[in-house]
Symmetry: D3
Subunit: 321 residues, 6 copies
């Protein structure tokens, strides 16, 4: 089990432990010898690590692990310009039977991917409109594998493993509640809107199996998940024989869910369930960022400025539970 | 009981019926005689009405009724430049025992004022924090009389009798639901935020007993309900001995609930319950406007452009219940 | 042949002549008799016309003509509140063998629809990339009938019969010229971009056979021609087996051709031919509006303020040819 | 007396002299020994200073001095990466009888705090309206101690010791002059507006006795000096029995003095003296920043870009006195 | 002397009196006879007037008076659609020896043109820099005649006879006062900035001898008084042999005095006197509009919304002198 | 001939070669000896270079070369913090007969200055309007020497030697083509607009003979090339006796060619040739930046974000020639 974490390294100590290798590069030192410059990380942060005087064999081996491999290193902790640095003497890739838990390395949603998937499928089963139910079911089933680990963003809100499912689940719960208060809202459309609205993030951003995104896909760069989502519904509606009115309304929900032109929505919502969808989306993102911002703040203090919250600080009251 | 409504007048017909006199003015006709020019209304719209050759006694009498009196008129329906017009021969003020219902003349909230008041008081009673509970209780009790009829705006969203209570009640229900999904939210602060956020509208806008607002008060013009609300909490916190942290947080909720500087909030919310308060507020207003916009639209068609919805049209699907 | 035009009516004169009936409504006069209130128009403007004391037969007949019929009226010219008005005594619908030219009633592109269509097809034939050539050819052929009369907008720039073809042709000519100067540009992509960019206006706006648009289609309201165009290319690429890179680049051209988020483009162009497409589009529109604004202005004077040109006035020099 | 200033250190020289210790931190060197890393400053700038191989006693002693202590150091000047650095061998806290002047370390207003206070009180004594005079007098007297050293901002304009009084005095002089030109303006309201407008900066920002601000108070973060000022006047008006009209007008002056929503004023001024207040405020700030920007610039040259002046450069003419 | 004013006409009365003929048009009545449709005005407002059954001689005569002539009419007061209207039986142009005062018809500055001109020249004489003094003197003398009556705007602030001189004089007084407070400011540059900043309004807008502007000149439309002013200084500097630094600084003052790009200044002020110039200008305009807005408002009430004040209402306190 | 380029240095190698000395500074090392710190560059990039233990003679010599001298150095390649660095042992200034080509050091336009100048003069000769032809001819001839090397900007688009001529030539070619499509456009005005629009960049920005700009001139900072251009035309029109209408239209073209107030144009174009001028200008700049961004990008990939393209990435297709 992992015992040494980035945020509690002690200068001068030695250990063998597991880290996620976030990046590596080969450089030449002032002694004209090659060394390997790595960023190692775990859920508490990142640290620079060096394998000095690296042999070609060591370089080849490390490169073969690929991005975001979990590796075991033997290292001693030094200090450079006021920051910790690891001096690595040995390393090997982690094995299936090593004793570690992936959540020690990466940020994951607080709930299990399968459970969230099942929850959402349960709500979909309650949709009375058969066409909408089929749209949701087909989309969920076809994307099941990726949904298990996809983040909801390449960075910022919900940029965590299974973050997309977590975002969908919270919105879905809140959407159902809204239908109990605003009884004119049709829960079929609310549930469907939540299920489809960000589904094309799976094709807009790239992600490895730890939910870590290196950036955008070709189509994601060129079109974005909103235009991709409109196309996706158009194809699916043709395939499933959904009528024009419903298909266009679903596309409209995707098109408008960012609400403001400068955030990517060329039109604003034109029916109440589309309006709600936007507010479910933005509120879930805002609240996630706020909770994250104050998670490590002591009671009675403000967080640092948070970029995704327009540089607000967030306050944690003294009397918080 | 009222039988003749503005939106279904028939040219050439005569009747005796009740209308709300929305305005009156005395003018001189081309025959050099005075006549009374009135706007009469009911819940279906407004119509111009003339009492030709008006005597001083008639003028005095009508003026004595005051603004927004309900009057009974004997009138015949004529047409002028393509619009209906009433030619009034007799009028009198409505009496307590006349057989009419105020809701035939004015737009009222769909629920009874007392019931909504009691509902909100019931939720307040569930607040665990004693200080917050007292703040809410005192505010509700002191403003009870006005809350019974106050609209939530001088025009646009919730500009109807008891509209302010209706706005509060829907937000409060939705806020409680949100706490079930986002369990880090403290329902005490959510309920309190809803109760206080618009309370000073009572002192910002003017309203007669039918919830019809002629405009803004002096203080409302000069400060607005946000600054007024900050002052109100400051005084109340001093009176009730609320500590600085809670008082400032309550003032912050009021200060930030419009979210954007250009809508009157100089700061954005800095804790999650204040963030939620904004979204409860804006969503309730938007949904109200949307429902109103499509209420008279046939299925499969769009409403007119709605100013409060950034000139959007709202769509009513063909399959709506 | 038409001899009496709206902009040169003489009070007191009588005539028989043809007009486009832009709208009609039945009203009741102060004498309690019905009359028909029409807007008649030709290429020089609109005039109010009345058929007093209209019989039910006359009303039924006029209604049967439908919107935007060309009718022949016998009328005398009167004046009402400083404006001309026609007093109509007789009317009938225009017949195929009547001696008039549709261009006397409506604004049409300065070139013939078929000729412009053929010109564009000629340029398409020169596209070397077979896939792009097929995309263009199929789109043109399938939309041939509507292209003959469709305007490029429901109002403002190019809101004239065959205006869409005219807009395409001028952009296409200019685009080819640009490729001669900026030789890195690929003319295949420039031509294709021009052909596809506004094609879905045909499904966004409604139009009768005179190129007069009563407004937007259901899908046009909900999605707009940019999102519709992305869908259209997606379907067509599937049908024709166009590869992903090209299909996405075509969709990107449509998505970005309005350039600014507030004008409907959620992304900006990411390759040079897409960049050019935007400038071809906006310059053609601006120039059209400018030429129209000064067409009736005497040399040495400014036009009225033009809304589509951000309320600029346009100047016609004294030395203009 | 202080002789060695940060902007004129000579590499290789040694001295004993006084500096303001702006920050300190304990670090571990590459030799695994602790050292103290300080920022020392005087009115001419800041310099990095190191006490190598620091004992626990030395660390404890330095920490006991607290932030922004004035200390005497024995040091030699070295160079590191092109910048001067002090190598400190000894240090002690400054004593009351040491021969130095606080203005050698910090930026102070060009006038004495007491004198400016007296000047303002003199102007207040001339207010004819008894209620306004009392408001001003009470506010000045209650805040006398803090006014002596408070800056007008935590950084940027007037961020100097006694800067708030200096800002008030200049505005007040200019405001009185304005009343001589615009004779409809009531000097009572102009003087009062100046006195109250920024008074709550004392409770919005934090400051030590040298007028150096570490940031914002809790209430300052949550509400800001504008909302705090409205509350302050509300309480004071209640205490002093000021009538509603005047109290609301005073609150309005505070509420509107930043003029633009994005700078914190939800309303714009609604009477002339409030309008003037804004211009007095902004002009004094702008001019202060301009004068500061060119103070060290040679004639005929431009300053660096100034952030508070929207990144303008400021020009000093060649012929300046 | 004029006795009958537009704002106090009595239906049914008759009189002979003087009015400013603001516009006239010849129309054909329903009786096929021509009539003259005029707008007559005085300093209290405008009224529609008709000369029915006008002879060709009468039409010719009226047209010969030209725009904005002062005429004497014999008229009776009638009412049309709730508004007064004059029925004119006779008219003649006012003569030099008629007993009336031009200020009864048009809005004029509260001070005499010659006196204001002399005042400004007096201040110019005090400029110590000989080059600046010559610039100002030459500009004033060359524009003397037009300055006597030019308004400072074609509408809105200072749109009154001699309004430009009045604007300059108030700014100049205020500018001199500012130099007493901000002693680093050079009064030579402040006075010169005021004198030159709007001088080209004389060539930007058109004006008759009553200071009534029909709109913009050709050059004013195409360039605006800011660019015109830069050119004017450039020519004058060449003529007078002013050195480059001073000439460019003067041009910079003109270029930047509107401060914001959207109000016509492509750069912001880069030296203190240019900064002051902007605030002198904007404050004088704002205060003028505020005073005008409340001039007719009773104490304790708000004005109508004022467009030039961003739709603010202005408040007149109950205790105002 | 130059053989060693910055982008392909090999650690440990030695050579004698030519570089452009972009900057130099004298510093004191930790050994208390002086050394020279240089930035050397060629067309492939920049590299830090040190001449350690520099004698006063060496320092004086290097300083005498002036900015942006081409020097020959004997150097060995070392590495410092992961970057190459040159250790210089000898240096001398390049001589006229040295074997190198200036284009190896600096970025130059792809065409020869003289050829482009002649091309533009050839187009000017075709202008039929004699006055416009003289304006263009005089401007070109008087600025011939500077045009040979001036860049079109101090950084970003066309910041290369002879960049201004290149920008003019491409716009001119495109402008002529546009006149073939939009036949209402007058080529005389299009050509003239292109020639004059940026001519004052020669007096706005500074440049050495390699087209490298150290920044802005005094007049450039204070006025900018738009206001400078208006003045320049005004003077030239006086000198050449150009009539007011044409002179003002030329000034208007300069004034409006940036189109948006925030980019320096206080007015928008008011005639078609001025409208075109803006689009010629912006499109040429955009395309230049796009081509540059993708010049080094492999097919099928995106460039880095480009600041001058609003942080877009640019895509190079896989099928590009």
């Amino acid at each position: 089990m992992k015992k040494n974490y980035v945020d509690s390294l002690v200068t001068g100590s030695d250990f063998d432990d597991f880290f996620l290798m976030k990046s590596m590069a080969v450089r030449t030192g002032s002694n004209q010898k090659k060394y390997i410059d790595m960023i190692l990380g775990d859920k508490t942060g990142d640290v620079s690590a060096k394998k000095w005087d690296a042999s070609e064999a060591e370089i080849d081996e490390l490169e073969s692990f690929g991005d975001n491999a979990i590796i075991k290193v033997r290292a001693s902790v030094t200090e450079w310009q006021g920051k910790h640095q690891l001096k690595v003497s040995r390393f090997r890739q982690a094995k299936a039977d090593d004793d570690f838990d992936v959540e020690e390395f990466i940020r994951t949603a607080p709930e299990n991917g399968s459970d969230m998937y099942d929850y959402i499928m349960g709500e979909i089963a309650l949709i009375r409109d058969e066409e909408l139910r089929r749209v949701c079911t087909v989309l969920m089933e076809r994307n099941r594998e990726k949904l298990m680990y996809y983040p909801a963003a390449s960075k910022n809100h919900h940029a965590l493993m299974s973050g997309l499912l977590f975002h969908m689940k919270r919105m879905l719960k809140m959407g159902k509640k809204a239908c109990e208060v605003y009884t004119n809202l049709d829960p079929d459309w609310v549930v469907t809107g939540v299920v489809i609205h960000d589904m094309e993030k799976i094709n807009e951003i790239l992600s490895n199996q730890w939910g870590i995104s290196p950036g955008y896909s070709f189509e994601g760069q060129m079109l974005g998940h909103i235009a991709q989502g409109v196309k996706m519904i158009d194809r699916l509606a043709q395939e499933l024989g959904i009528g024009e009115e419903k298909a266009v309304m679903l596309e409209h929900m995707i098109l408008t869910h960012h609400y403001e032109p400068e955030f990517g929505s060329p039109k604003r919502p034109m029916f109440p369930e589309a309006e709600l969808l936007h507010y479910l989306d933005i509120f879930d993102a805002r609240l996630f960022d706020m909770e994250e911002a104050i998670s490590a703040v002591p009671p009675g203090e403000f967080s640092e400025k948070v970029w995704t919250l327009e540089n607000r600080r967030v306050y944690k009251p003294t009397f918080v539970k």
